[in-house]
């Protein structure tokens, strides 16, 4: 290769790279730059689906949907009951985790509070005690009153609440889909 390079070098005239080594250097430099560029572009193209699929959940649109729980008339005023619903965003292999539970407190006909079961401290499942009208967390001892406000223990706030509405066909619906957390701000 160097032989043919040196025979072609005469055409270079008085440019700074007039010796044969200069042409080689140019060619090598070009090849190196081309190689780097092609590899970078190729790597970036491969990275798009790899990184894209891995971080896609972070860019997903708002997962919350209106989910019917039961007929609003089925809830007795003054009671707090556990209800379960299917997550609006789910996959066929979710198994049991396709479901979520929530507590529905019926204050009076057509008036509700719907709480997440996740403790506002670190997300453990709180249990409702009808007799003392308290929610208690088995992990670090967070306790909440029946209106969801913090009673004692480490939680920084009251229980997370779902937005609710009563549909035209009389169903109590909640806006759910995202595992409740402090970022929710509700």
């Amino acid at each position: 290769m160097s032989e043919s390079d040196s025979t072609n070098s005469g055409g270079c005239g008085d440019c700074p790279c007039k010796d044969s080594g200069g042409v080689n250097e140019n060619r090598r430099g070009f090849l190196f730059a081309a190689g780097t560029t092609l590899m970078t572009i190729g790597g970036a193209l491969v990275a798009v689906p790899i990184i894209g699929a891995a971080v896609a959940p972070a860019a997903a649109r708002d997962p919350n949907r209106w989910i019917p729980l039961a007929k609003s008339a089925d809830f007795r005023p003054g009671t707090t009951v556990l209800k379960t619903f299917l997550n609006p965003v789910s996959a066929p292999n979710d198994g049991l985790t396709a479901s979520t539970a929530c507590y529905v407190r019926c204050l009076e006909p057509g008036k509700f509070q719907v709480f997440a079961v996740n403790c506002a401290h670190l997300g453990c499942p709180v249990e409702w005690f009808d007799q003392s009208r308290l929610f208690m967390c088995p992990c670090h001892g967070g306790v909440y009153y029946e209106d969801g406000s913090r009673a004692s223990g480490p939680p920084p706030r009251g229980l997370f609440e779902y937005m609710w509405r009563i549909s035209t066909d009389g169903n109590l619906e909640i806006l759910g889909g995202r595992l409740p957390g402090l970022q929710e701000g509700t």
């Binding site: 891995a54 971080v55 959940p57 972070a58 860019a59 997903a60 997962p63 556990l82 379960t84 997550n87 965003v89 789910s90 996959a91 066929p92 292999n93 979710d94 198994g95 049991l96 985790t97 396709a98 479901s99 979520t100 539970a101 079961v117 996740n118 401290h121 670190l122 997300g123 453990c124 499942p125 709180v126 249990e127 409702w128 005690f129 007799q131 003392s132 009208r133 308290l134 208690m136 967390c137 088995p138 992990c139 670090h140 001892g141 306790v143 009153y145 009673a151 004692s152 223990g153 480490p154 939680p155 920084p156 889909g177 995202r178 595992l179 957390g181 402090l182 970022q183």
Partner: protein, 501 residues
């Protein structure tokens, strides 16, 4: 290559391979490299960690052929492995107990290297890669707990998500990447599966490679001697001449102790695995089962305890800044001090620090196992009061005892030593609080107790206080020998009087 002499033929074959691969040169360099004569039993923990990692690889590969990494099937596949696959339970038990052993050996290795100042020149980067290996190992332990896909795994992920969620600004996105979606689901299990069987083992293998290369390059450290100062200008020359003069080949001299220790530990772990069996799976990973009482594996119990005991205001900064700052400080250790004395007797601060850390983690782990801050969620209905608390009570006082049970007081308060430990034991509460104080405490709460003013009617409160007022110690003295002494000790603690019933 044909030869009539088989021994000669073998040697020729080996030479043929060596000439093309350099394999034996490498083996000679690593297996027969000279190590200090005094590198004895203190030095076996690193080898044992690596041995248990190979056990994890071998058992993990076979488990991966049996396990179904799908949220719908994972739990059942574990039950299948335990109950249907020949020796499957034993395989799972070995994988679980060997994981514990690997972590224990790694922590002992870390403590020994810290205690002996081995991280000093020229082994700073060996330490740094060791810190990365420590993180990868802890990561493998945590993700392994998730593979059980039971209630502990599900709620453990919930706790992880709640921690990540606290990151200001990016918490939501980080949580979505961690869970693979807006909730804990099938995508979460497959993410953690990929971490557990591909990413973290791969990273661990690569890191072990670098760690071992650095051990070979810089040599195994000598036992620290008071007065033998590490000075980067002269250390290497001195070390090499000493090892050349008085060192021994790693194999067989030093390797003998490694082999004895590793063999004994391996047999011990297999024995423990055969005796105690595999870990879990416990309850189903059912998000609608709100009776779950999730607990982390032993290695992470200290975090569980710390989160119960930290002042709430300091939790978020500590959760978010603690791990990165702690890891950075650990990794930066040799850059803060890479010269000078290595002997523990000349580094009292380091010894004190190690003792404090070990004691702190030990106490937190012990507290995590007993978790006195957790209410006993079923105590109100399943823990019967001793007969001594029932007999000779008036109807009103008996009604008060029922209130005590039915209002879930027992979940947080013990009487006669049984019940929750979150609040103070009430066996002798009448000796501490008057009638009026009891009424006020029940109605208004305070001192980490909810207010029952809106829950209990005045008649119910009166009955409850009537019962509590009988708890003056006489009951215990008469019926439960010994209980009064333990209660007296409890009362003597300075905080006891401030906490209310």
């Amino acid at each position: 290559m044909q030869s009539r002499n088989p021994r000669r033929a073998l040697l020729e074959s080996l030479r043929w391979i060596d000439e093309r691969t350099g394999l034996f040169w490498m083996l000679r360099k690593s297996v027969f490299h000279r190590v200090p004569r005094d590198a004895k039993w203190w030095y076996v923990f690193g080898s044992a960690t690596m041995m248990f990692f190979t056990v994890q690889l071998a058992s993990g590969i076979v488990l991966a052929t049996l396990y179904a990494p799908s949220a719908a099937d994972a739990y059942q596949s574990l039950v299948y492995i335990d109950e249907q696959v020949p020796l499957g339970w034993f395989l799972r038990a070995i994988h679980g107990w060997s994981s514990n052993a690997m972590c224990a050996m790694m922590l002992l290795h870390l403590a020994q290297v810290f205690l002996h100042g081995t991280y000093k020149y020229p082994r700073e980067l060996t330490w740094v890669f060791g810190v990365f290996l420590c993180l990868a190992t802890l990561g493998l332990a945590f993700t392994g707990q998730i593979m059980r896909w039971d209630a502990d795994a599900y709620w453990g992920l919930g706790i992880g998500a709640a921690i990540v969620d606290r990151a200001p600004g990016i918490g939501d996105q980080l949580r979505a990447i961690m869970l693979g979606g807006p909730t804990i689901s099938g995508a979460t299990l497959t993410r953690f599966f990929a971490l557990h069987v591909f990413i973290l083992p791969g990273a661990t293998i690569a890191l072990i490679g670098v760690h071992l290369y650095l051990v070979l390059r810089n040599g195994i450290s000598e036992m620290p001697k008071p007065g033998q100062i590490v000075d980067p200008a002269t250390y290497r020359e001195g070390y090499e001449s000493r090892v050349h003069k008085s060192g021994v080949p790693f194999y067989p001299d030093a390797a003998r102790r490694d082999m004895v220790f590793c063999g004994a530990m391996l047999i011990a772990v297999v024995g423990v695995a055969a005796w105690f069996g595999p870990f879990g799976p416990n309850e189903l990973p059912d998000p609608t089962n709100i009776h779950a009482s999730p607990r982390p594996d032993g290695l992470f119990l200290w975090i569980f305890a710390a989160l119960a005991l930290l002042p709430p205001a300091s939790e978020t900064p500590l959760l978010l800044l603690g791990p990165p700052v702690g890891i950075a400080l650990l990794a930066a250790l040799p850059f803060l001090s890479n010269r000078g004395e290595r002997a523990p007797s000349r580094r009292p601060l380091s010894v004190l620090l190690l003792v404090l850390i070990v004691t702190g983690l030990g106490v937190l782990t012990w507290l995590g196992t007993t978790s006195p801050w957790s209410p006993q969620m079923a105590a109100w209905k399943s823990t019967a009061p001793d007969v001594a608390f029932v007999e000779h009570r008036t109807p009103l006082e008996t009604q008060g005892l029922l209130e005590f049970q039915f209002a879930q007081c027992r979940n947080c308060h013990s009487i006669g030593g049984t019940g929750g430990k979150r609040g103070p034991d009430l066996s002798t509460v009448a000796t501490r609080l008057s009638w009026d104080q009891l009424v006020r405490q029940i109605q208004q709460g305070g001192g980490n107790m909810p207010a029952y003013g809106k829950t209990l009617s005045s008649a119910e409160t009166q009955a409850l206080v009537a019962f509590l007022s009988t708890l003056d110690g006489g009951t215990l003295k008469a019926k439960i020998p010994g209980a009064l002494e333990s209660q007296a000790a409890l009362d003597a603690s300075p905080a006891a009087g401030d906490r209310g019933p």
